[in-house]
Amino acid sequence: MSLILIIEQTLNGIQFGVMLFLMAAGLTLIFGVMGVINLAHGSLYMIGAFAAAAVAGATGSFLLALAASLVVAAIAGALIELTVMRRLYDRDHLDQVLATFALILIFSEGTRWAFGSFPLFLDIPDALSGPITLPFGVQYPLYRLAIIGIGLVVALGLFALISRTRIGMQIRAGESDREMIGALGVNISVLYTLVFALGAALAGFAGALIGAIQSVQVGMGEPVLILAFVVVVIGGIGSIKGALVGALLVGLTDTLGRFLLPSFFGLFMEPSSAMSVGSSLSSMSIYILMAAVLLFKPTGLYGSA
């Protein structure tokens, strides 16, 4: 185990964390402002990836594909908000869970019906393909590095949007008192649709970026959705900052756990059982992290009660 390998895995962890942040930010924003839990967020991730793959297949342009993922996912999000979510704001969480579970079934099977069960592939653009040499002689794929960069830029943009702009002010006001901002003349239903579309666009964008590394297929969204839940729980519901910290923690714990735990157990166990204990423990590591955070801060690291 060398330093180079550790640096490489750490970068992988950060890249994974940045992707989780794009998912978790939308979830936590939607929950913070509207108080709904949206299981269909994973479907929006999938829709973004499929839109990107379809556009890239038709035009060959990766930039157009990314743009398509943003636009299509935002439109899908706005449609979901207008037709379904709107009716669920004053329902209990059980109804929200079940309605969005129904949306998952509809979107997953609908996509399978439209695109078939075989995975699609989205190619990394030529300008970003191949490795790049970093300090200490680390060879790292340029595309993954670009994802980290794009993710951090999006995170900064989101912070600026929330804390510096008029719409961000309205979003924050909506989180603390939605009746009041309605009384002050802000059109809440438009605001809600916008927030939902924004969250959806972020999820779709993440799907398109990851789609180029993995394959684009039905059901790709749900594992990421559940990890994003873990991130939101660790960071605290409604907190963008918490989502960023939680996402990086989960990304690093998962990646480094998979890499380090088997060799750690190899120090005092025979190789085959060290491998199996290490791999099963590392697949549980982020949930153990979540349990630990919950023991000390039941509302998450940055959550308010």
């Binding site: 998952i104 609908g110 559940i226 199996s276 791999s279 099963s280 979540m290 023991l295 039941p298």
Partner: protein, 327 residues
């Protein structure tokens, strides 16, 4: 209330009559479908104690369903290969006897529910949903990455486990076993809901603070309810694994948790027989729509969406009117 009781009795009788008729005309597949209904209903009834009565929206009950399934798979696989589970500190053998397997399944899934519940019940609302979902995934990934019992491929059992005095390979006899267990649990839960424990649990769902003021700790009530709920779902898992003679991580997946919840919502939340009707409806939809189209989940999704948005009491609510408050 009268009409709901009538519906309940009809449901229970229909679930008995259909397989008996199928047995008479020699249609074993229909008996298997009815067995599936009884088992899914049992899982749903288990979850409904936490969800309907206790207001605990657990999205991780597949974990307990799967642990019950694996309890059966592990015990039976050791019995069929004649290898002991453990030889230290004392000899622990596998078994093919259903009563023992049921007991182990309930104890193991109850213990898992105790651990998950003790942590998750520190939170409420959306946190609780997300955390139970996450813990459910934890068990799922554990089952996939633990190679000793089949990992991703699952574990098959050659012969169905035995019950003293019965031939469990005969579909109708196995159905009767599942049906009797379901009836026993339904009877027990009906008594439980009317007991001081059930009353207090129900009250804690409606108004947490008031229950605390009269000196009851809701946390403890909810934890007990969660453990009983997990154990019953685990029992259903052991039966389901025995029905298929196969157990795999799919039983632990989050979709399974969602489906168990779907049984409850289709039938009616907080109604004792809701999951029985819901499971029946689900299996019928799966059978008939699945025959019409490969993409029958789309129709299921649309139906579920309509029920959630427009028919909040589920099927029992539609038939019996609004006698039981569902808030």
């Amino acid at each position: 209330m009268q009409r709901e009781q009538l519906i309940n009795a009809t449901t229970l009788l229909a679930l008995l009559a259909v397989p008996l008729w199928a047995w008479y005309v020699d249609e074993p597949f229909t008996i298997t479908l009815a067995t599936k209904v009884a088992i899914f209903a049992l899982a749903g009834v288990g979850l409904n104690l936490a969800l309907g009565l206790g207001g605990l929206v657990s999205f991780g009950h597949a974990a307990f369903f799967g642990i019950g399934g694996y309890a059966m798979g592990i015990l039976a696989s050791h019995a069929q290969t004649y290898t002991p589970l453990a030889s230290w500190p004392f000899l622990l053998e596998g078994t093919k006897s259903m009563p023992v397997i049921w007991l182990v399944a309930m104890v193991m899934s109850g213990l898992a529910a105790l651990a998950v519940g003790a942590l998750s019940l520190r939170t409420t609302g959306v946190y609780f949903i997300m955390i139970t979902l996450a813990f459910g995934q934890m068990f799922f990934y554990f089952a996939i990455s633990w190679p000793a019992y089949g990992g991703e491929d699952g574990l098959s059992i050659y012969v169905r486990n035995g019950f003293p005095g019965l031939n469990t390979l005969d579909p109708i006899q196995f159905f009767m076993l599942c049906y009797v267990l379901l009836a026993v649990v339904l009877f027990f839960f009906a008594r439980l809901a009317k007991s001081p424990f059930g009353m207090a649990l129900n009250a804690a769902r409606q108004n947490d603070e008031r229950v605390q003021t009269v000196g009851i700790t809701p946390y403890r009530l909810r934890l007990v309810a969660f453990v009983i709920s997990g154990a019953v779902t685990g029992l259903a898992g052991a039966l389901f694994a025995d029905l298929n003679r196969f157990v795999s991580p799919t039983m632990l997946s989050w979709q399974t948790s969602g489906e168990i919840m779907v049984f409850i919502i289709l039938g009616g939340v907080g109604r004792l027989y809701g999951p029985v009707i819901g499971a029946g409806l689900f299996i019928m939809l799966e059978h008939f729509l699945g025959g019409l189209s490969e993409f029958w989940h789309v129709y299921l999704g649309v139906l579920l969406l309509l029920v959630v948005l427009f028919a909040r009491g589920g099927l029992i609510g539609l038939l019996a009117g609004k006698e039981v408050a569902h808030d």
